[in-house]
Each structure stands twice: as C-alpha cells, then as structure tokens.
Amino acid sequence: MKKVTSLQIERLFQFTDQHFVDYYDVQLELVDHLANAIEEQWQENPDKDFETALQEEFKKFGVFGFLEVVEARQAAMQKRYHQLMWKEAKEFLKLPKVVILATAFLVSFTLITQITYGVYILIGILLCLVILFSLRFYKNNKEIKRLRKQSKQKPYLLETLLNHTGQFGAFLNLPIQLLVLITKEVEINIWIGIIYGLLLTGVTLVFYITLFLLPRKRDEILQEAYPELKMQTL
C-alpha cells in the first residue's frame, strides 16, 4: 500500500499552518487525519497526485476549513485551564492557605470601612501588586519568546493559555479601577466593605494563580495534557 512520505508529512504541517492552525496539538491530529485519508484514496487510485488528494480531503472539512476544529479545541482547552485554576484556588480555601485569603480580605475590609483615607492606602498596595504582576507578565512573555525562537514547531494550545494567563492578563488593572470607582461614586458602608474585600481578594488570587502558580507547574501540566511529551522525555 502506498504511504505518505516524511516530506509529504512536512507539507501537511505546512498546509495546516497556511490554513490558520496555530497550535501543534491540533496540527498533529489533522496531519494524521489527512495522511490517513490520502492513503485511503491511494488504495483506490495509486496514481493520484498528492496535492489533488489533499485538496479533496480539505474540502470535506466544509466552508470554514479547519476553523471549527480549532475553535472546539480552544473551548476544550479553556475548560481544562479553568479546571486547573479552580484546583489551585480550592487549595486556598483549605488550611493553611485560607489564612492568607482571610488576612487579605480583613486588611481590605478594614482599610475600606474603618480607616480614614484607607481606600487610598489600599490603592497604593494594589498598585504595588499590579506592578509586580505586570513585571511577572513581562518576564513570562520574554521567556516564551526565547523558547519559541528555539523551537521550530508551533506551540501547544494549552501552553499558549498558560503563557498568556488564559486571557486574564487583560484585566490586570481591574483592582485599581474598582477602587477608583469607590472613591468617586460609592457611599462606603459595611456591605461595600464586604463586597470590595471579597472582590479584591478574589481578583488578586486569580492573578497569583495565573501568573505564578500555573506557569511554575507548566511542564507537569503539559505532560499530563499531551502524552507525546512524555514519549519525548523517555
């Protein structure tokens, strides 16, 4: 039986690349699918040209090409990312880490409700945290660019999510915005203290998880999601 050659496999990777498949894990699956389908065509007509067979198979994916497959994979991996975040967050709801959360909440609550100009002190603290988080974000990005330059292949989808904090980075200045709002339009009372305390503690925890904890476990997480990485390290 006529088989797809290594050179043609490379062409298939290039083809998926040209059709907006930006993730290696999605490419791997599509390349194998296309190769199988082309080999199947060759069983009936061994003389069929590789490119013609490829175009015929691509048409079967419909008018949107590989887009539906990529989008479904993105949704699935976002879900996995959120599950990882939730797993880390749950650790903060148990002893001993819950003490850190409770302290953060009490500090925010006290500063907002009990201390004159406390909101401004809190803004100062959060500003320091946002700077720290932004520096980390910048450092993570620099590291990713370095790794990408070394590698010829596209990144894995989950790797991209881990590197880009699963899109949460866009909300980095949210804590400050929330507090600026309080100084202008909100009358401070206990309920505002509780709501803001919870909100600020929650948002800070999300950034800590996405910027520090998950990137630290990057290799472990990726090997769990992509068994082929374990194969490579064997």
Binding site: K3, K60, F61, Y226
Partner: protein
Amino acid sequence: MSNSKLYKGSLSTIILKLLSKEDKMYGYEITQRVKELTKGELKITEGALYPALHKLEADGLLEVEMQKVDNRLRKYYKLTQKGTTETVSKLEELERFMETMNGLMNPKPSLG
C-alpha cells in the same frame, strides 16, 4: 455531520458506543467505522467529529494516548471510567428517544 441533521444530536453517543466496543480508536478510524457499519448511509464529517471528540475529552469522558505510526504521531481516544458510565446512560436515553419516536410514527390503534 452526515447526510441528515437528524443524526447530529446523537454524534456523542455514536462515538461513545464505538469506543465502548474497542480499546481505543483514532479520529479517521471512527469516520471509517461509521461509514462501514451503516454501509455508507451515515457519513460523519471531519468538521463535526473532532469538535465532538474534543468536547468529550474536555468533559473527562475520553482520555488520549499517542502512538508513533509510520512517520507520524497518532492520537488515540479511549473511554475513561466516567465515559463508560456515561455511555450506558446515553444509550438508555437514545433507546427511550427511539421508542418515543416509534410510538409517534406508528401509533397503536386503540380499542374502543
């Protein structure tokens, strides 16, 4: 998917059922198996199959295994424990649906 939209809602069940009979399968193999079992009546399109597989994987019903075949890596899907349980309930659900449809399409003549 397919030549009929009627099958669309059952795609996950079809995949789970096929995987319950095999240890593991890969995407292309699933499309071919369905074609073979239905004698070409049902063709799962690629644009429907992979999103369904990825969703089942994200829901924890399937797990993956990679294997090097010829000059490429192949991704195999297999049922998890949760997937095995879910297959049973999905099949029951499908059977009930088929009975209901059958009752609607072929109502038994009532006496009196």
